[in-house]
C-alpha cells in the first residue's frame, strides 16, 4: 500500500521537472524497480492512475522496468539471479556479491515541447 507514497514521489519529481520546461506537456515517465525493492508494479500503476486521473497529468504514461537481482563473482562475471540461486554459473563460487536489484529510481521523463504558434504577417 506504500505504492501510493511512491507514486506521489514520482509525480513530485515530474512536476519539478516540468516547471523547468514552460509550456511543455509531460507524456511519459519511466522508472526502474528492483525485484528486491518491495514495490509491486501493478499496485504502483493503480496508485499512479488514481493520483493522475482528472488532473493536469492525466495523460501521463508510467513505464516500469523491473530489474532483476544481479550478482558479481570474483571470477569476473556478473549474472542475473533466478530463483535465489546465488552460486556463480561460471566457476561455481558460492559467495557472490549483490550489485543491484533493490533500486527504486526515476529513469527519464518525456516532454512534448510547446511549439510557438507562428503568425504570418497579414498581406491582405
Amino acid at each position: 500500500m506504500h505504492e501510493i507514497g511512491i507514486a506521489n514521489s514520482i509525480l513530485d519529481a515530474v512536476r519539478t521537472e516540468v516547471a523547468r520546461h514552460p509550456g511543455g506537456k509531460p507524456r511519459k515517465v519511466a522508472v526502474r524497480i528492483g525485484e528486491l525493492a518491495a514495490v509491486n508494479g501493478d499496485a504502483l500503476r493503480f496508485a499512479f492512475e488514481i493520483l493522475t486521473g482528472d488532473t493536469d497529468l492525466d495523460c501521463l504514461e508510467l513505464e516500469i522496468e523491473i530489474c532483476p537481482r544481479r550478482q558479481r563473482c570474483t571470477c569476473g562475471i556478473e549474472f542475473n539471479v533466478i530463483a535465489y540461486e546465488l552460486q556463480c554459473p561460471q566457476c561455481g563460487e558460492q559467495r557472490t556479491q549483490c550489485i543491484s536489484g533493490d533500486q527504486l529510481e526515476l529513469a527519464y521523463l518525456e516532454i512534448e515541447e510547446h511549439e510557438m504558434e507562428e503568425h504570418e504577417p497579414s498581406t491582405a
Binding site: 514521489s9 511543455g24 518491495a38 546465488l86 518525456e110
Partner: protein, 226 residues
C-alpha cells in the same frame, strides 16, 4: 518529444532526511536500530524484555510506530526509559520525516541506543531508510518458514534475523532450520539469533549481539573522527 534523463532515487527526499539523521546519530554516538516484522511477531515484547534487563542508567530510548493507539508506548514506558509513540493514522510504515519530527525535543547526546519499532508490516517499511545503523527483522515460529522467500526485500536489507517465540517450537510445524536456510538464500551474510521472551531462551545471545553492535558502531565512529 524531448527525453529528459532524471536518474535519481524515487524516494530521494526521504533518503536526504535519513542521511541527515544518520549523520546526527553518528555525531552523537547514538546506535539506531530499526525493528521490522509482520504484526504480532513480538517486536514490543522483545523490546519490553530488553528494557527490563537493562539498568536504568543505560542511555536507551524507543520510538514506537503504529497506525492507531499508544498502547505500545504505554507498555514500554513502564521501564523508566524515554519512549514516544508515533501514530501514523493509516500510513503503513514510518518515514524519515516522522523520525526527525519525533526526535525534535530529545537530546541525542543523551541517547546511546535508540530502538525504532516500525509499524507491523513486512513489506512497506523495507523501502524507507530511517537513518538507522541497521535493520533487524523478526520472524516468529507461528509464521511460515518460507517467509524470507515470500518477502525477500526485508530479509535482504536486514543485518540480523531474530526468530521469536521459540518456546512454541514443540507445538507448531515450523522447520527452523529451513527458515534459517531460506533467510540465508536471500541474504547469505545475515546473522541469526533464536529467542523466547517467555522462557528467556536465547535472550543472552540477543543482548550479546546488541553489545557487539554498539562496540562496532562506536569503533566505526571513532574511525570517522580520526
Amino acid at each position: 518529444m524531448n527525453r529528459v534523463p532524471l536518474e535519481k532515487k524515487i524516494l530521494s527526499d526521504n533518503d536526504r532526511v535519513a542521511a541527515e539523521l544518520r549523520e546526527r546519530f553518528s555525531e552523537c554516538g547514538t546506535l539506531c536500530l530499526n525493528l521490522i516484522s509482520a504484526p504480532g511477531s513480538g517486536k514490543t515484547l522483545l523490546l519490553e524484555t530488553t528494557l527490563a534487563s537493562l539498568p536504568c542508567t543505560d542511555r536507551v530510548a524507543v520510538l514506537t510506530g503504529d497506525i492507531q493507539t499508544d498502547n505500545d508506548a504505554a507498555r514500554l514506558r513502564r521501564f523508566g526509559f524515554p519512549v514516544k509513540q508515533i501514530t501514523t493514522g493509516g500510513t503503513c510504515h514510518l518515514d524519515a520525516r516522522m523520525i526527525e519530527r519525533h526526535l525534535a525535543d530529545w537530546r541525542l547526546q543523551d541517547i546511546g541506543l535508540l530502538f525504532i519499532e516500525n509499524v507491523g508490516n513486512l513489506v512497506c517499511p523495507s523501502s524507507y531508510d530511517l537513518g538507522e545503523a541497521a535493520k533487524i527483522v523478526l520472524l516468529s515460529v507461528t509464521e511460515g518458514e518460507d517467509k524470507p522467500l515470500k518477502y525477500p526485500s526485508i530479509f535482504f536489507k536486514s543485518e540480523l534475523l531474530v526468530i521469536t517465540k521459540c518456546d512454541l517450537l514443540p507445538y507448531v510445524p515450523f522447520d527452523i532450520a529451513a527458515a534459517e536456510e531460506n533467510a540465508r538464500r536471500v541474504h547469505p551474510e545475515i546473522e541469526i539469533v533464536r529467542v523466547s521472551c517467555t522462557s528467556g531462551g536465547g535472550f543472552q545471545e540477543w543482548l550479546a549481539w546488541l553489545e557487539q553492535r554498539k562496540r562496532t558502531h562506536l569503533a566505526t565512529r571513532a574511525g570517522e573522527l580520526v
